[in-house]
């Protein structure tokens, strides 16, 4: 990589650490360290909410998905604005008004200690592991594409983030999130401009070419429980997923608990509702333009160079045959695309589009064959889609912009990791250490333990990230395990708003919800994952309400808040 690109990346990382250290001046007690004394403006909190959700996977996987599958993934986010409005008028006033540090603390006031501890434990288990995955995903891609050592890649992402989160607390996390979002948006716009300049056809023709391959299809109005990305799964399943994530996940709840008032907290969520769909559309559109770019510039058969080398080593004859056939299809596709761009009549455009589609389907089939050989050899899904954007960046972005792109991907990863480390430490200290181990201690002691907890979770996440590359299937299992209880925890919070609901209903309902999600996950009946949260939440509310009514009075554990 050119030294100027390295300079940009190193300068950005150094700035993050310096800015984080600067913020440590205002965090001398626990309320300041975890909640910024509830003093942050709504726009900064809103940008932090967005930065936490936008991880490196969005930057590299989202653009890759745009290139291979088009715009339809945007339907996944259709429920987000609805969820934000619902949360703004329901859960946010509850949580902000309760003056709690964590969402789970609220559950003890409303139900009982065991419901609080169980939900907090589930959060620690899933977020602790997912934090490692968030570091590992870009680290693995960067190490393969840029030739970096995996440990170096993990250290580049993990060490500065752990340092500034540990020292600067939530102030450092939030104010750096603001700057990281600005860098990400700037880099995305710069990439769009670069792509438009590099395309040999007009933007409209590029979209016609992408449209001929189905990349501009957005809406799918079919109602299918097994099809993941449809309008209805986005609106209904997506709303429940976003309610779970923004309403009950401490990594997001803690962002808006730092806002000055309930209304500022609500406005911060609405800000995310404003920009999420347009921003995600921009990410996918970059992928669509990358697809159009590779119509006129020969793409590699596989974007992951390590897998390409593996295929050559394992079966050089097959690779050569596949590559030659692939090149022939690409030549046909290129000619058809140029015909499509200059076609003047509707019939000429239709003929060119048909030719383009035939060659595109042929090229895709050959690529799929190569990917399946790699998947058999590595015994893991190839995930080549994650390598499209980084490979495009290193091969085609000009000097400086490549550095900016890498810095933006690092920023996306760091903003998510920092919020997760911050929330993992908060839950560890507030829901376990202060609740069960040492209820009475000085603020200075809790502050010290909080910083130690942040450091511990940082080391844990980096450790998981280093091993994640070799633990592909195990990580999948952990992520799937996480999806079992996401909707169920939402169900417990929904139950909290029903006056007759009691602790026994919440606790048993939580297990019933997880069991229901496990059943549909293993295919009895088979339901796409976006519907899992609906199943979990509805089961918890139904079972929890019923049990609260029928359980004997001594089992109901009435609490002061109820």
């Amino acid at each position: 990589m050119h030294p100027i690109n390295w300079l940009i990346v190193i300068a950005w990382l150094a700035y993050n650490v310096w800015d984080g250290l600067r913020r440590s001046k205002n965090t001398h007690e626990m309320e300041g360290y975890f909640l910024a004394n509830r003093s942050l403006p709504w726009w900064a909190v809103g940008l932090s909410v967005m930065a936490t959700q936008l991880s490196a996977v969005t930057m590299i996987g989202g653009t890759g998905q745009g290139a291979t599958d088009g715009m339809r993934f945007i339907q996944f986010y259709f429920g987000l604005p609805i969820a934000m409005v619902i949360l703004g008028v329901t859960l946010v006033p509850f949580l902000h008004g309760a003056k709690v540090f964590t969402a789970y603390e609220f559950l003890e006031r409303r139900f009982d200690a065991r419901t609080r501890s169980l939900t907090a434990l589930l959060f620690l288990l899933s977020r602790g592991m997912s934090c490692g995955v968030i570091i590992s995903a870009p680290a693995v891609v960067f190490s393969a594409v840029f030739g970096w050592d995996l440990t170096l890649a993990v250290a580049l992402i993990g060490v500065p983030t752990v340092l500034y989160t540990m020292i600067g607390g939530v102030q450092a996390v939030t104010w750096l999130d603001v700057k990281q979002m600005a860098l990400i948006v700037f880099a995305l716009l710069a990439i769009v401009v670069t792509l438009l300049v590099k395309l040999p056809v007009s933007p409209i023709d590029a979209l016609h070419i992408a449209g001929a391959a189905g990349r501009t299809r957005v809406y799918d109005f079919s109602f299918s429980l097994t099809n993941t990305y449809t309008f209805w799964s986005g609106i209904i399943g997506g709303t429940f997923l976003m309610l779970s994530y923004f309403g009950t996940d401490q990594s997001q709840v803690q962002r808006y608990l730092t806002a000055r008032s309930v209304d500022e907290a609500r406005s911060s969520l609405l800000m995310s509702a404003y920009w999420k769909i347009p921003l995600q559309a921009l990410v996918l559109l970059i992928g669509v333009l990358v697809f159009a770019f590779y119509v006129f510039t020969r793409p590699p058969l596989l974007f992951n160079p390590a897998h390409e080398r593996l295929l050559i080593a394992a079966n050089p004859g097959t690779f050569e045959v596949l590559r030659e056939e692939y090149q022939a299809r690409l030549t046909q596709r290129d000619s058809a695309a140029r015909m499509l761009a200059v076609a003047e009549s509707d019939s000429a455009r239709e003929t060119a589009a048909r030719m383009f589609k035939v060659s595109e389907v042929g090229a895709s089939a050959l690529r799929d064959e190569a990917l399946s050989i790699v998947a058999r050899a590595t015994r893991q899904p190839s995930r080549d889609v994650n390598y499209i954007m980084p490979r495009f960046a290193i091969d085609h972005l000009p000097i400086g912009l490549l550095g900016l792109f890498i810095a933006a991907v690092l920023a996306a990863a760091m903003s998510s990791i920092a919020a997760e480390l911050n929330s993992l430490a908060t839950t560890t200290v507030i829901d376990f250490y202060r609740r069960w181990v040492r209820p009475e201690a000085s603020d200075a002691h809790f502050l010290f333990v909080s910083k130690a907890a942040t450091g511990f979770w940082g080391l844990f996440a980096c450790g998981v990230a280093l091993f994640a590359a070799n633990l592909g299937s195990l990580i999948e299992v952990v992520n799937r395990f996480g999806s079992f209880f996401y909707g169920s925890i939402l169900g417990v919070f929904l139950l909290a708003m029903i006056p007759r609901a009691r602790g026994i209903g919440a606790f048993v309902g939580l297990f019933a919800g997880m069991a229901a999600v496990a059943a549909v996950n293993f295919g009895a009946p088979s339901v796409s994952f976006l519907w899992h949260n609906v199943v979990g939440a509805v089961t918890v509310v139904a079972v929890g309400t019923l049990l609260s009514i029928v359980a004997p009075p001594r089992m109901r554990h009435p609490t002061p808040g109820s």
């Binding site: 715009m71 703004g88 016609h208 001929a212 209304d263 609405l270 509702a273």
Partner: protein, 38 residues
């Protein structure tokens, strides 16, 4: 009291803005689909 009224007013204005942006974005995406998808 005045601050609370201002906050509530900002929330309402933001809410209307959010809904407007969503509708415009969905219409733009619809235009993208019907114009370019073959």
């Amino acid at each position: 009291m005045t601050e609370n009224t201002n906050d509530a007013g900002r929330f309402r204005r933001t809410l209307i803005g959010v809904m407007t942006v969503q509708v415009v974005t969905l219409l733009l995406l619809w235009w993208l689909q019907v114009t370019f998808t073959k």
